[in-house]
Symmetry: C2
Subunit: 338 residues, 2 copies
DNA sequence: AATCATCATGTTATCGTTACCAGCCCCACT
DNA sequence: AGTGGGGCTGGTAACGATAACATGATGATT
């Protein structure tokens, strides 16, 4: 029963052809006569043959893997990026090899090394901050590298991202234009949360540019920052700076958490406290009141990255000429800031 | 510059040892003298050597991959299962190879076939419904198979799951005991949503067992069923069956959507309409009012599956003796059903 | 002193597929 | 009839690591 699984050679023997012909029969473009191919595929099915990619990968020096690292899978934004990336790549015959860094660049380094051993055709990392060793590994890997979700100052290779700083600036202006003055920022205090700290820095810069006090900063600690952290932060805010008129949160999740805290305390949103989020999560479009947010195009980042990788691998670009694709975050004004 | 990457043979030559010794130097348990190993590792670093798993995989017939299929990555429940699974496996030196079926068993079949070509050491699938061909592929793969999130009547191999039917029965009883009589069910009408339909069937059975009318069934269509679908369904429910006292939703997401619709219409929850969800999502614990739900132990399913796979692969079980690990879903009573 | 286990290393063959290079047959054109 | 090209097939070697077995040196044991 449990003999070892059949190989192409077994099929070849059964049909009376060479293994080479069997190999060809499995590739759609190669030249094999119709009847031979059918006989081979039938025999393969009969024998319960399963193609062995590991051997093919070794011989052809192609794995059709694309390595991807994200901070966390439990985040709708990153998940959406991965989904679109995965869809786009699978359409091109590529398969994702996914790893989580847990928002830790040391973990990222380990992960990158581990993933590179699998000989992916390209690698996508989230963010532009890496350990020196990770940078070196990526640079020397000899495959296309794409950094996403940020616009690194010194990109390793390609980039598909947007400016978190600018995006938050947009949000600050939105509130300032609406007449809010005492505006707080929630989150972005942990230095392993690069996007969060960028947003916080962007908040401070934009507030100062608008001539407003930028000192209302509420800490949430290390990522992931979810709804609960947002609620806790709002409680702090209401206690420490009760005259605050508006709070800009590091993400829609924390904004929603902040909203629930207001609801529990009978604080009306937006009349007593206006709220802004980030990321255009589903929840912000449906909760009551709906949340003003920033669409950072998480899905499009994934889709565009897939397209870019396809183009590069199929030689549609000058090789060695890194591309930077920049998305412009768009503010979505909703009920929480009217 | 772009010569081809160094191999173990190159390191061997540089150090003056055999390739075999180099190979051994990279495995922690093998016997290589301290100094030789150090010299090898140093040379490897100098040359920018990256271990080639594809070759090792072929020769040793071990990939250290575990294939996993889930319906969707954009679902906090499945994501949590995958996270714990991934953590547990990586602790054992195994790496996940993930694929999404989009709630489609035909897509699952394609995916399973594709994943098996990569020669994983084990495969985890979500749910117990598969195409005949997929069943055959899984059975003949010669590796441990784990079905999760359900309790299939005819398991292919191992199972780590719970009874959706029983879980919803629990929920129905909770509402019935609290005095609710006109109870509706939202979702679970699409037949590619196996867990959803099971929950709906469980609802009908439990309602009948309680002597209650089980005909208040609101359709949501095909999965994924999110917040928006829940809101739409609640609108339908309020229009078609306005005297309904309580609604049990196929998940916390749809329950939250239903809640928002109530809020927009000024319908008090739970006074005018009680709500129940499923899955113990973060949102249900924090929204106002908090949602009564069922903890299905999504994370534990992943953790336990990782443990099971570890045990099986390391021969800690009678081989060929499939295990079934059954979780008992627990009702969490919250504000939405007081 | 002889024997044997242990350690560190080397040699050889192989995992299953495919790149590369031929070779054959048949038909279409000169 | 001769030449050429395209379609189909086969033989051989190789991808880069390691399993399996073998070897020499060292030290422990009797």
């Amino acid at each position: 029963m449990s003999r070892k699984p059949p190989t192409m050679a077994d099929i070849a023997k059964a049909i009376g052809v060479s293994p080479m012909t069997v190999s060809r029969a499995f590739k759609s473009d190669s030249s094999v006569s119709q009847e031979t191919r059918e006989a081979i595929l039938r025999a393969a099915e009969d024998l319960g043959y399963v193609f062995d990619s590991t051997a093919a990968n070794l011989r052809s020096q192609k794995t059709d893997f694309v390595a991807v690292t994200i901070p966390s899978i439990n985040n709708a934004n990153f998940a959406e990026t991965v989904r679109q990336l995965s869809d786009g790549l699978s359409r091109r015959g590529l398969q994702i090899l996914l790893g989580y860094t847990n928002y830790d660049i040391l973990e990222e380094e380990r992960l990158v090394e581990q993933l590179l051993r699998r000989k992916p055709q390209a690698i996508v990392v989230t963010g532009g901050r890496h350990t020196p060793r990770a940078r070196k590994l990526l640079s020397n890997a000899g495959i296309p590298v794409v950094e996403t979700w940020d616009l690194p100052e010194q990109p390793i290779g390609h980039v598909v991202g947007f400016s978190n700083t600018l995006a938050i600036g947009e949000m600050v202006r939105h509130f300032a234009d609406a007449g809010y003055r005492r505006i707080a920022f929630i989150g972005g205090d942990a230095d392993n949360d690069t996007r969060g700290t960028e947003r916080r820095a962007g908040f401070v810069a934009a507030m100062q540019a608008a001539g407003l006090d930028a000192s209302r900063l509420i800490a949430c600690g290390a990522p992931p920052i979810g709804m609960r952290e947002g609620a806790v932060a709002m409680a702090h805010l209401l206690q420490s700076l009760p005259d605050t008129e508006a709070a800009i949160c590091v993400s829609d999740l924390s904004a929603f958490g902040a909203l629930t805290e207001c609801q529990r305390r009978g604080i009306r949103v937006p009349q007593d406290m206006a709220l802004g989020g980030f990321g255009n999560y589903d929840i912000g479009a449906i909760c009551v009141p709906t949340l003003t947010t920033i669409n950072a195009f998480a899905g499009d980042i994934g889709a565009k990255t897939a397209e870019l990788i396809g183009d590069v691998l199929e030689g549609r670009f000058e090789p060695g000429l890194p591309q930077t694709i920049r998305f412009t975050p768009v503010l979505i004004g909703r009920e929480s800031s009217r």
